[in-house]
């Protein structure tokens, strides 16, 4: 026969209070080794008490209390390993490039979509001049009509560093939105990729038609390769999410989504530092005539090659890791 509830609580409460205070100290981070053993013992006792209340006193406050207490202790004891700096290093050395190579199908599809948009925008403007009115923002059109690069004025209006930080946040927003839009069954990502491609293609084609191809490539060559790669990678991550939603395979949709989401976000997180770097290049180097075109083009090609070299080679074997690392830190 079970004890009456108040007597049961009175008898066992000392252990529960002790467990609670140990949990509080565990959170604060000043738990000693002996106390850790006590914590384990007390948790097992509380779990046994919880089973007891589930049978004899269901739906009471004592049941709710023990449930919560065991939940907190469970979370404290069965913790996943904490991510720290070594984990961050391992992520950039191995995890991120490997994930990218494993998901190259999605990144490839994303790149294809982007180039499709690029081609579409360029062809429309090249074949039908009035298409530019539809696809190119009016501000840019005005500049081009006067035969100037709109980017020439970025520097004269604002100092280069503010341009750099503004561009960095803008790129960040585009990247995050491109990825997160994958939640709309991939349609949003698709739209973002094609739309960005169409815009860039249309602006480029307009510049070529007006005989300003040199200015356009002068502006885009330094940061373009890496920046567009990053947006394509974020698009690939978004497509992964969309694919998990449309075709979850053997798993329930929710689980597939969580599983693929964790993989996809690695691609976005991995791109973040490169995005910040390329924002600096776009703000300082690309606009104006501070650097000659061949320097910009060389820099852009070098950065792009380093970036993709890192993505395709890093973490392949243990021997490769050490060889690729300097290249990684240099980019």
């Amino acid at each position: 026969m079970a004890l009456p509830l108040p007597a049961f609580v009175a008898k066992r409460r000392a252990d529960w209070d002790a467990l609670q205070s140990l949990l509080a100290r565990q959170r604060a981070g000043d738990l000693r080794l002996e106390e850790l053993r006590t914590l384990d013992t007390l948790y097992r006792r509380a779990a046994a008490d919880l089973a007891h209340t589930q049978t004899f006193y269901p739906g009471t406050d004592a049941h709710r209390f023990l449930n919560q207490l065991c939940g907190q202790a469970y979370a404290a004891i069965y913790q996943p390993p904490r991510e720290r700096w070594p984990a961050v290093r391992a992520f950039f050395q191995r995890d991120f490039p490997r994930t990218l190579r494993r998901e190259r199908g999605f990144v490839g599809a994303s790149a294809a979509l982007f180039f499709l948009g690029l081609l579409l925008g360029a062809l429309v403007v090249l074949w039908e001049p009035r298409g530019a009115e539809l696809l190119v923002p009016p501000g840019v059109r005005q500049y081009v009509a006067h035969g100037r690069m709109w980017t020439d004025d970025i520097l004269s209006v604002a100092p280069p560093n503010s341009v750099a930080s503004g561009i960095a946040t803008n790129n960040l927003t585009v990247t995050i939105v491109t990825f997160a839009m994958g939640l709309t069954f991939g349609l949003g990502t698709l739209y973002m990729l094609v739309n960005n491609g169409v815009h860039i293609g249309a602006v480029g084609a307009l510049c070529i038609r007006e005989g300003m191809a040199r200015g356009f490539f002068d502006f885009i060559s330094a940061h373009g390769p890496v920046e567009l790669s990053i947006i394509v990678i974020a698009g690939g991550a978004g497509l992964m999410v969309g694919q998990a939603l449309i075709d979850p395979g053997e798993l329930p949709r929710g689980q597939a989504l969580a599983l693929r989401g964790r993989e996809a976000v690695k691609l976005v997180l991995g791109c973040a530092p490169f995005l910040a770097l390329i924002g600096v290049v776009e703000g300082y180097v690309s606009p104006g005539s501070l650097f000659p075109t061949w320097v910009k083009a060389g820099l852009g090609l070098c950065l792009g090659a380093l970036f993709w070299g890192y993505l395709l080679r890093a973490g392949r074997t243990e021997a490769d890791v050490t060889a690729v690392l300097p290249a990684d830190s240099a980019s």
Partner: protein
């Protein structure tokens, strides 16, 4: 778990005890967000005023700021959008300041604390949950899913559980020594529902108006006491005697 219909998270532990954690609904989550958002807002207000107190020519300083300074500023603004949430959730066991105030916590679907990836995913997805404005997409998603998860939670495999403050003192509170409890008519053990009922009444009794207190008390005495005639009258004579009797009965000493 108080009622079968309220959403909850079932966790199977290696100790073979099933945990049932109550899930935080949309109300808790909105309130927690409001607290966090206003906290960030006031942080920037205070930062701005301190800054303007220290320097008079704000615009001039901004324009004269070095590249590093301006980059830091932009990073600071970005931090309030994303880093604040993620770092708080990773380092403070799934709780930002607002969530701590409301007593809710982000956990994985298996009840374990969130890691960096999960937290990063669910906070990056704020961008989508916020669409088209004021978290409309997130709120609709929370209303449609069984465990009140927004899109970011679905993608990260997380959800928010509620932590209640449960007072165990009511079980162990000693009866007032002044009122001597009379002997009960029968001494059958009360079921745990009856104990909960009596204890809930005792906890709320001081806040009830006098006649309601008397009426509810009398009904409880009739239900659990098994008294008749003179004994019942004696118990019902004053609220103090009545509650002392009920307390003793709940402690199974009657």
């Amino acid at each position: 778990m108080s009622t079968a219909s309220s959403p909850h998270l079932d966790v199977a532990t290696p100790e073979r005890v099933a945990l049932t954690l109550p899930v935080a609904g949309i109300g808790y989550r909105c309130l927690a967000w409001l607290v966090d958002a206003s906290l960030l807002f006031f942080f920037w207000i205070v930062a701005y005023f301190v800054f303007t107190l220290l320097v008079s020519d704000v615009l001039g300083v901004f324009q004269g700021l070095s590249g590093l300074g301006q980059t830091l500023l932009v990073v600071g603004v970005f931090a309030t959008q994303w880093l604040y949430w993620t770092l708080a959730e990773v380092f403070f066991h799934g709780q930002t300041a607002g969530k701590r105030m409301l007593g809710i916590r982000v956990v994985r679907m298996d009840g374990s604390p969130v890691g960096l990836y999960e937290s990063a995913v669910r906070n990056l997805c704020r961008a989508v949950d916020f669409l088209p404005m004021a978290y409309a997409a997130g709120c609709i998603c929370m209303l449609l899913t069984r465990q009140h998860r927004r899109l970011g939670d679905l993608l990260a495999g997380t959800l928010l559980v509620r932590e209640e403050r449960i007072d165990l003192d009511k079980y162990t509170a000693a009866p007032a020594p002044s009122a001597v409890p009379p002997a009960a008519g029968d001494t059958r053990a009360l079921t745990s529902e009856e104990v909960e009922l009596v204890l809930a009444f005792l906890a709320r009794a001081p806040g009830l108006s006098a006649d309601v207190r008397q009426r509810l008390g009398a009904r409880l005495v009739d239900r659990v006491g098994g008294l008749s005639g003179g004994e019942r009258e004696a118990v019902l004579a004053s609220p103090e005697r009545l509650e002392a009797f009920l307390r003793a009965r709940a402690r199974a000493e009657g």
